[in-house]
Amino acid sequence: MIFNSIEFILFLPIVFLLYWLVFNKKLSHQNGLLLIASYFFYGWWSWMFLGLLFISTAMDYAYGYGVASTNRKKARLFLWLSALNNFGVLGVFKYFNFFATELQHGFLLLGIKTNPILLQVALPIGISFYTFHGMSYVFDIYNGKQRPIKNFIDYALFVSFFPLLVAGPIERAHHLLPQLQKRRFFNYQQAVEGCRLILWGLFKKVVIADALAVTVDSIFSNYLDLNGFTLIIGAIAFSFQIYGDFSGYSDIAIGTAKLLGFELLSNFKFPYFSRDIAEFWRRWHISLSSWFRDYLYIPMGGSKKGKLISIRNTFVVFLISGFWHGANWNFIAWGFIHACGFLTLLLLNKNRKHVNTVVAQFAKTPSLIELFQIISTFAFVSFAWIFFRAKSLTMALDYIRHIGISIWQEPGQFFTLPGGKLTIIYILPLILIDWYLRFDERKLRLPKTEFLRIAIYIILSLFIAFQILTYFYSKPSSFIYFQF
């Protein structure tokens, strides 16, 4: 089941009403209902992979007890077993075919012909997310931040909680589990904020990202026939498409959790207003980047063991982050580009320049310097997105080469493309609204007059409903991050 489907629009109110009106008397009832709802939500996509989700959950639950052992050696053994188990699952379902094919290519270079066995199995949705949830639990116990949980239902719900099951935000055990272990009470303000986030998230996904996808797909499918200027616009449009798509998803997830009385971690903080690449990574897919920071970068020594170790760690984290997104060289290249950008700041000791500030904090518009910083960071990020969006590394390089060779030919070509003119119509409001909201991603600032607020809700709902109903008899478009 996906958030922009009719099924989910029916599913959510049913769960909401059952949760607050029928199963609200006891904590165990609340969690039991949410666990059933979460498995139903996942099983709607594929009931066969429910088994994998359950086994993965049960294993990490057991490892949690092993890691809690006072014997440090034994604890470390269980920690490794958990990592092996989770990476093993990922390896089989996500990376097996990639390594098999690459090995074949390697052997071919040596003149040896092989016939690799390839797995003909679909990638279970959300596998990269729920395995990371499981690992976060075991790591937190190992680091003393979390105690093993007695109630299996609570733990299973932590891994499979439906708002974040398929595409995050990747929660931390020490953040979500305490909320799961307390009975929730309905909070009007929290529910209203949740509804607003759901509406805004759906709008970003269904109306903006899906509309931009039309232009982006067209440009990336026909890039050989298009000029450089159009290809640049294609990359920019994809930057906004993926932002609308994924931040939209995160908003819906956070909003849904709020409706049920939970506060999830933030995942996006207006990343395209970042003034450098380090700030971008503190604002883009925050739950993943902080996961890598806490469970990989810092355990490897972070930036405290000298420059060389910092450089190594930065590359490891960004390359793995790229590889996490997909088993393909273009994702690794994407990670590499970001590593280079980040490293430049790290070596100049400028990577923490914009930690706790927001652009134009005390002004309505950015200063010229800030504007230059925002545009140059965005240009860098958009350049890297070409590698992310392309189907292969070769295609990405070819796309960039075409930008170079035909940049000044027919500059008006973009506007003759179907949907071309609309691209600006979709991007501009997103930038303006984000600029207005930039101080707090979790609370959407709305007019104080109730009439105006309701009018905004209705307009957003209409746009969304129109779009969703259009595809009523067909499949709604999926979220980009579902493939990871």
Binding site: S218, G419, I454, I458, F466, L469, T470, K475
Partner: protein
């Protein structure tokens, strides 16, 4: 809790009321893209009859006259030629499910389909029902009642597209030929390149298996003179590969080369006068085919 539910319901009901109002008030938009709905409807309504079906992109819609063929052969002829950007693969199975053994197919794909049989342009499809989902829609018994809402949506989108588009919804005749260009002043013709280096016959044949039927006639697309001279090497290669097979091919790529002045507007769009001439070349072959299959 009650306040929250009542307010949410209030917003939901108002939004729903607006949606219903939109459905009732907005007129259905009729345009080039939405015309494809009608073409498929025409085809489906003739499923049981013996017929001639013309398949291809807009070069077929503009460049072959189904009406003329029907008059000459006395067989129902349907022109399915539509914008090549819709792709041919998506609706292939639907079309084939309506084709009987003795039906005749005239297959005239644009050069793009030789290089990439699964070619399509998602941007164009958005105007219709978002890629191949449209086909799922047509198979759904409820699609007709829902069709109007979608046409309204395309109406909103198309209101942003210039009105001088030569092919509007009402510019098709009952056979599906584009007739709005007939008698109209030609627009400027754009140059383009189709010098694709890649052609894989096996892939082409696997994608369009109906080309191997004894009743399928293959016709090369109408090509501008300058484009032909530029891409001749590639066209020759494709032609040679096709001639090596047992496929029924009307003539040659060079026989479909026309001066730029013969086109109405875009790349493959022949003017009405030249469509007549081109169709006249196809008719004798079709009559011959009919005799054989009888």
């Amino acid at each position: 809790m009650k306040l929250f539910i009542s307010k949410t319901l209030f917003v939901g009901i108002i939004a729903f009321a607006f949606l219903v109002a939109f459905k009732l008030i907005l007129p259905e938009n009729k345009n080039y893209n939405s015309a494809f709905v009608n073409k498929l409807d025409i085809l489906i309504s003739h499923t049981q009859e013996r017929k001639i079906v013309l398949i291809g992109g807009s070069s077929v819609g503009h460049g072959i006259s189904a009406e003329q063929i029907q008059n000459a052969t006395h067989l129902t002829t349907i022109n399915l030629g539509h914008h090549a950007g819709f792709g041919l693969v998506d609706f292939r199975d639907l079309v084939l499910s309506t084709i009987n053994k003795d039906d005749i197919i005239v297959f005239a794909p644009e050069w793009e389909f030789y290089a990439n049989p699964i070619y399509f342009d998602t941007a164009t499809l958005e105007d219709l029902y978002n890629n191949s989902h449209y086909l799922e829609l047509t198979k759904n018994p409820n699609y007709k009642s829902f069709k109007s809402l979608i046409l309204k949506k395309t109406g909103i989108i198309n209101s942003l597209i210039p009105n001088h588009s030569p092919c509007r919804y009402d510019c098709y005749n009952n056979n599906g030929d584009i007739i709005s260009t007939c008698g109209a002043k030609p627009l400027s013709i754009t140059d383009y390149s189709v010098c694709f280096d890649y052609f894989n016959y096996e892939l082409f044949s696997n994608t369009f298996p109906f080309i191997n039927r004894p009743n399928t006639l293959i016709v090369f697309p109408p090509t501008q003179k300058r484009v032909y001279s530029r891409c001749r090497k590639q066209f020759d290669f494709i032609e040679t590969q096709l001639f090596k097979t047992k496929l029924l091919i009307l003539d040659s790529a060079s026989a479909n080369v026309y001066d730029e002045s013969c086109f109405f507007d875009a790349e493959y769009h022949l003017s009405c006068e030249n469509r007549i001439l081109r169709t006249n070349k196809i008719i004798p072959k079709l009559i011959e085919l009919m005799k054989i299959s009888n």
